[in-house]
Subunit: 465 residues, 2 copies
Amino acid sequence: MRIPQITLSAIIILTTQLSVFSQNQTNFQKDSTMLRQIFDETLENGRAYEDLRSLTKDIGARLAGSASADMAVEWGYNKLNSYGFDKVYKQEIEVPHWERGTTEKAWYTDTDGNIHQLNILALGGSVATEGPLQAELIHFKTREDLQNAKKKDVKGKIVFISQPMDQKMIETFDAYGACYPIRGLGAIDAANKSAKAVIIRSLSLSEHPHPHTGTMQYEDGVTKIPAAAISTMDATALEKHMITTRGVTKLMIEMNCKTFPPKKSHNVIAEITGSENPNHIITVGGHLDSWDVGEGAHDDGAGIVHSMEAARTLMALNYQPKNTIRVVFFMNEENGNMGGKTYAELMGQSNEKHIAAIESDRGGFTPRGFSLDGNDRQLKLLLSFTKLFEPYLLQQLEEGYGGVDITPLKSEFKDIALFGFVPDSQRYFEIHHNANDVFETVNKRELHLGAASISSLIYLLDNYL
Amino acid sequence: MRIPQITLSAIIILTTQLSVFSQNQTNFQKDSTMLRQIFDETLENGRAYEDLRSLTKDIGARLAGSASADMAVEWGYNKLNSYGFDKVYKQEIEVPHWERGTTEKAWYTDTDGNIHQLNILALGGSVATEGPLQAELIHFKTREDLQNAKKKDVKGKIVFISQPMDQKMIETFDAYGACYPIRGLGAIDAANKSAKAVIIRSLSLSEHPHPHTGTMQYEDGVTKIPAAAISTMDATALEKHMITTRGVTKLMIEMNCKTFPPKKSHNVIAEITGSENPNHIITVGGHLDSWDVGEGAHDDGAGIVHSMEAARTLMALNYQPKNTIRVVFFMNEENGNMGGKTYAELMGQSNEKHIAAIESDRGGFTPRGFSLDGNDRQLKLLLSFTKLFEPYLLQQLEEGYGGVDITPLKSEFKDIALFGFVPDSQRYFEIHHNANDVFETVNKRELHLGAASISSLIYLLDNYL
């Protein structure tokens, strides 16, 4: 391996050195100077961290349809107005309205008669138990095992799926994606076998006492049964019991969560008007709503302050964008994505040309790069920024997902370039959708480096896309 | 910029694709399979996190010369013995012995007569105040300002240097390096102007209440004056007072730290004997000692468990190294580096050939790559691993520092390749040398990914160096 690899590395070194000379030096110098100014401004004067403190501590958790979400809309509108954008406005949308309710309890009784309480969270959208629900528990190690089970063995029981996220995957979002159907479709699978309810091991990579919530689905024609997540610690303990005393342990569960009629809410939008192409739009955003546990600090308070700070930095440097830079605080990403869908629909009906959108919804951790959902020309453009991004350790420039909120824009603008901000993912799934997602888990430098990275990409896209 | 850059990126893409085919496929497949097995073993069965819990909670802070350091030596010896190495032994060294003592207090009085207490830590090696020491305070924004000051203005006063670490530097170790002389040489600079004592702003990138300690030096023929660090929060507040009421604020300080005669201590060493070249040595290590505040979790408990786990993983996979893999727990990196110096001396007198050394002493954060202190051939070799490291996001492969403990080996073995493990550096300097450096700040996945990265480098060096 050594010799050919050395040849390769030699070529790479050569290419890299060549590039410095082969590039348009004037532009490269201008752009690298601008990126340095962007990072300096954000690292020295950035507001993202204090804005996030305010969003998480003055508002807190903010599930779409709640009073907190309404206050978050006011917070966003006022905050954006304080930064001197050319335009700040709200965009009305309709959002689902589900409430966790006041009771979420579960216990299991082992064969020795010992009673163990479980830390549970109803999955978002779950029906209630309508009072105490007690039944025999049946354990499946995977969703596939449940799908392959005999209906008579599952009928009338409560299903427990203990499948953990795969520790071996380096990119934790891959491990999340692999387990997502357990949470999203487990209630349908269990109901298809006539189960009374389903509980799943929380989608998390760490063992801790807090259950992780998240969306789940029902299917027309399939009975809607209650669905909850239990903490990874409880799941590990319960699985041990089930393996030694399979099928005989009873579970008692009560949840009084409820779905209400849809409510009006808003996306919150601010713009820096383009000096050359005011109706060419570069959207940058995150989602303003969060789940109703923790404080929505990394998911997605970070994306909100990233987007606002990225634009604030450009304004602080008196940068006049050629295209319109539009900051969008999307509402309802977590349980319906009505903000993203409505925004795309309305933009499709407008005379605007949407050339790019950037989403930050993977946390406020140390930046690693950007993923592109776009075409080859756009990928080449992204890779052409390699040398400019190098000093800021933005080394992961690759094809990939943009983000839930901006993906609907693709159906309206087929040539749009969708970028996802890619921070380090290792800590995300111990914080995601649970009580751990609080301001204290966010690091100021990591957050501000992310904002500066996004600001730099906006600048480069504004000039070269 | 766009067109030439696209050309560049096109070349890079081409090169990358070419490489896949140009490489020796057999070796590349074998090596990439081995790296995958290494990461799987560490991520699924790694012991590093629980070993670190034991080192930080059962032993805790462990300054060289203390009983805790002696217990850490026992801990390391027993722990290494539990992993089935071919050899485990201690290497006797002599270490300095300094103790913080029981009193560390400081107050300043503002011009309105308000008394403010300061959170202080004596710098390692500082002399005591010999009872209460009160004097006028004189403030300098930088070390240079102090060096340029008139002796008569400084004489008899306590010097305060408020220079902060530079937030704008992306690599935080660069910002640390730039401020290091303030802590290391500030007492000499101040004594040269006949000051009574010196206090400095803690070398940290975050504003918090805990002062950061660290080494400092005296110079023969220059009066030894007491030196302490105050917390960044206190430094910011005190600087405000000094700017508005420069020179009139009084400071009272008392510290009863003390230097004792040198003591015996040990490096702790374990080996997997090389099957082909038993006297060709690849050293991997971190330092077992820590400062006497916090728990020495990131600095350098992480390096200790990284090194042990990297070797454990290779043994768990039944890998038979061609060269001898030697794990070294170095003692006394923090205040004398007697472990590193003695190890190098003794090895220089042996008949061993030291081909490489790897040090982990930058924390247990998410891995970013390796830095090499070596020659061009070794750099090309490191770069030749680019494709193998890609799936594990080891993207920073560059020339740079190896580490304090292994650097003395260079004077004995001029062709040795010294590698520093490079984790993400953004959080390091809020944890470094202060009460924040506890087990709870370490993330299990980040720590285990680091161990697997080091294990992978050992494997590749064993085969291709």
